[in-house]
């Protein structure tokens, strides 16, 4: 693994002035999208890769942010890393509805000059892809050499290959699914209820931090595997013994509370609500009466699907369903199930098999 870092990376902003219609029927009067780029665009402009972020991610993919925090995929994006910035021009953007600079619930609604908050219109993966295509045009890219993402990011990569078959050569869909299961929607619903039930939700001067923290605690459990939690915490106690109270006693409680609290300080509850809805609504096969293979008929991108053995939020079976639809549609598809104890979070962590599969797949063969 390389220690090469990209150092401090500048955040840029793309402003779309025209109105932008959403799948929900609502319209945004223009939008701002923040993004970062890593590596250089070559002369042929055929080395651009879009990395799509997941639920709580953003455009800070690699390098260091202004407050010296490492990007969420810094272990895998950089010089000589799986996504090698010596070879590729990599773009990471913050999705619409986000809370890290792109137009979202914290932005001012031009119609009434107050922040959108809960009135920010619902967006979909398809809307995101459409907005990312405007960014592509803005950057002067004829097409993406690859679109890549894990989890909700993988769903965007998949949507890209369906909606813009001529504008993407390869996709890598990691730890994702073609649609959410009832269990997945159920987890999202509890997360939403935690936020909506917070008395500070929609209050004028307070934030629903307790609810958002709870939502994150729940989410966090589903991102780890049973084994990983046993390994990390077991039944370890903070003070070595029980004290018959509802205070923090077990290490795992302490960890979850910390995760919930720190998350609620850096993330927006409206964005979280929105993102869970985007996940729940995702179902590209809807346009073809639920027939995924038919939906994929138009795809021309070479596709690599990666799943992780201990991921139960988006289990390998969900990726296999997707792979089978690609096979039925007679598409160029490869699928790899990587052994990992890290659950859904494994997609964020480099490993030899994972890195080299991506590196090899991205290699130009023509």
């Amino acid at each position: 693994m390389s220690n090469d870092s990209l150092g401090r990376v500048e955040t840029k902003s793309f402003i779309h002035k025209d109105s932008f219609s959403l799948k929900s029927g609502k319209t945004l009067q223009g939008f701002e999208m923040v993004y970062q780029t890593y590596g250089e665009l070559n002369e042929a402009k055929d080395n651009a890769i879009l990395i799509c972020h997941a639920l709580s991610g953003n455009h800070l993919v690699a390098g260091l942010s202004e407050d010296d925090k490492k990007g969420w995929w810094d272990d895998m994006v950089g010089p000589n890393k799986a996504f090698d910035t010596n070879k590729y021009f990599i773009v990471g953007s913050n999705n619409l509805g986000g809370c890290h600079g792109s137009t979202g619930p914290n932005s001012i609604n031009p119609e009434n000059n107050i922040a959108y908050g809960s009135s920010f219109p619902m967006v979909t993966v398809g809307d995101w892809v459409k907005s990312q295509d405007l960014l592509r045009t803005h950057l002067g890219l004829p097409y993406w050499y690859a679109v890549v993402g894990g989890s909700l990011g993988g769903m965007q990569a998949l949507q890209w290959s369906i909606d813009y078959p001529d504008l993407v050569k390869k996709i890598v869909v990691i730890a994702a699914a073609a649609k959410l299961s009832a269990q997945n929607i159920a987890f999202n619903e509890i997360a939403r209820q935690a936020i909506l039930a917070d008395p500070n939700y929609n209050s004028e001067d307070k934030l629903p931090k307790t609810g958002l923290g709870l939502a994150r605690m729940l989410g966090h459990i589903t991102y780890l595997s049973d084994d990983a939690m046993r390994e990390k915490f077991g039944r370890d106690m903070k003070k070595g013994e029980v004290n018959f109270s509802y205070d923090v006693e077990f290490e795992v409680e302490s960890y979850l509370r910390y995760q919930g609290e720190s998350f609620s300080n850096r993330f927006d509850a409206h964005t979280y609500l929105l993102m869970t809805k985007v996940l729940d609504y995702f179902d590209p096969a809807e346009s073809h009466d639920g027939n995924l293979a038919k939906t994929l008929k138009s795809v021309t991108a070479k596709t690599l699907l990666i799943a992780f053995s201990s991921d139960w939020r988006f289990s390998p079976e969900r990726s296999r369903e997707l792979a089978n639809a690609f096979i039925e549609a007679e598409k160029d598809i490869s699928f790899l199930e990587i052994d990992s104890p890290h659950g859904h979070d494994a997609f964020l962590m480099p490993s030899e098999t994972y890195d080299s599969a991506i590196e090899t797949f991205l290699e130009k063969n023509e």
Binding site: I327, I333, S334, L336, S356, A357, T360, F361, E363, N365
Partner: protein
Amino acid sequence: MNKLIGNFIQSNARVLDLGCGDGSLLAFLKKNNQVKGLGLEIDHQKIQKCLQKDVSVIDQDIDSGLSNFQDQSFDAVIMSQSIQALRKPEVALEEIIRIGKEAIISIPNFANWRCRLQLIFGGTMPVSSALPHDWYSTPNIHLCSLKDFEKLCIDHGADILDRQLLSFDGEEQSFMKVAPNLLTEIALYRVKARN
């Protein structure tokens, strides 16, 4: 061997290679027969090599079933010297001829004279170039002879369209026709589902 298999494959065919290893055969067929290939493999190092060769590959264990493949969805399904390593070769054969309009299957011949001699005079389980493993570490848990395989085909609804008799390095040897079940080291079959 790749060339012999290639002779059985139409150009532009859709080909499924079960147990595709490092993807050499599919890469060869892609180059020479312009096939649209897909491989199945479980060894991640070999999958890596497939990706290096630009061969599409699915991480899937044949023993856990092939029900994810549609009927007659491939022009040819290839199983090269691995049917004897499966838990249920008879189920695999039925699946192969269901999925493929044709199937190309090669087997190491356990009734080859060298194997017979080793067993009769050496009193040990045969080890040869075609079957290089010791009895305790061999992946080949369902070894068979040409006669055995041909009976399997008859019993499980497969018609044999072609048979080639080869040495372990994949060379065609016409002398083997004299006594195929005794002389052949590897047999290559082209089969399809009986109508």
